[in-house]
């Protein structure tokens, strides 16, 4: 038995709508100007340069807190996206009617450790998160941020997150 595959445009619209709803639901990410680009289920976070992101105006360099926040937003959205992806692809959540009010609860940060590898230059930054462990209750995420050169990250981080209780999941 074979099912006709969905038209590519329908699939793309569903996934892009879900990502837009998720990324748009975090006011602080909007304040910093963070955006997300998607290739399949892989996300890349973008932080376009802005004067208000500068810490040291003499160098000038991005504020360490901006880099930390960028990495943490990337980790949280990355985690939430992985779970949202399963929900929308299985049809349990309808991406067309996804808003801040009916999005699944976001993971909560337990701890977050940032290594500052190089000074953040006054230009755009990018980041990608890797989920190293995703359990029912706890998740571990690694994030890397870079600017001009992907091989020379300016910061990396590891964090632990508390996952929201999900409906319809069996106790272990």
């Amino acid at each position: 038995m074979s099912r006709r595959p969905e038209p590519v445009q329908v699939v793309k619209e569903r996934r892009d709508a879900a990502l837009a709803a998720l990324a748009g639901s975090i006011p602080y990410a909007g304040f910093l100007g963070i955006r997300f680009e998607r290739m399949g289920d892989e996300l890349t976070a973008l932080l376009p340069y802005d004067e208000k992101l500068i810490g040291n105006p003499v160098l000038p360099a991005l504020h360490g807190g901006v880099t930390a926040a960028f990495l943490e937003v990337t980790a949280i959205v990355g985690l939430a996206w992985t779970h949202l992806w399963e929900e929308i692809e299985s049809g349990r959540i309808d991406a067309r009617h996804l808003g801040a009010e009916n999005l699944p609860a976001l993971p909560r940060t337990i701890d977050f450790t940032v290594d500052y590898l190089r000074s953040g230059l006054p230009r755009d930054a990018y980041a990608r998160a890797t989920i190293t462990r995703s359990g029912r209750r706890y998740a571990s995420v690694r994030v890397e941020a870079w600017q001009d050169n992907r091989a020379r990250p300016h910061a990396q981080a590891v964090g632990h997150f508390l996952m929201p209780a999900r409906e319809g999941r069996k106790a272990p």
Partner: protein
Amino acid sequence: MQKPSQQEKTAIARAFTEALPHCRALGMEMLSVGEGEAAIAMDYDPRFVGDPKTGVIHGGAVSALMDTCCGAAVMSHPRAPSITATIDLRIDYMRPATPGQKIVARATCYNVTRSVAFVRAVATDEDESRPVATATGTFTADHALAARHGEEKP
């Protein structure tokens, strides 16, 4: 150039932090700084919210506050140069900050070696008995770099 006096270092740390564009964007207010200790406040702002369902401030905004406060504590330390950069910073989130309340970070630079400054910090909201977050970090204490910028070794 002479090594700056403690009062001058405190003034430098305060002026420097207040001149940082991102600290202004977050509305940070230096409450006190000197002798390796610093306290900085950040008012609640709906733009800094991490989860609109709860109205809780995003961890990233708390990180920015902690990083600034730790850096100011290092710069004001008698044995540290007044130029520093974060090497690493770990934040532990104890509980969500209560929406609507100001967050205050207090940092202590408790040791400075020839090249590294060690810092810890606590952030609280109005209930000061229950910390919102704690931080531990290491910062550069590059005396050679400071000397190139005209500062004498302490």
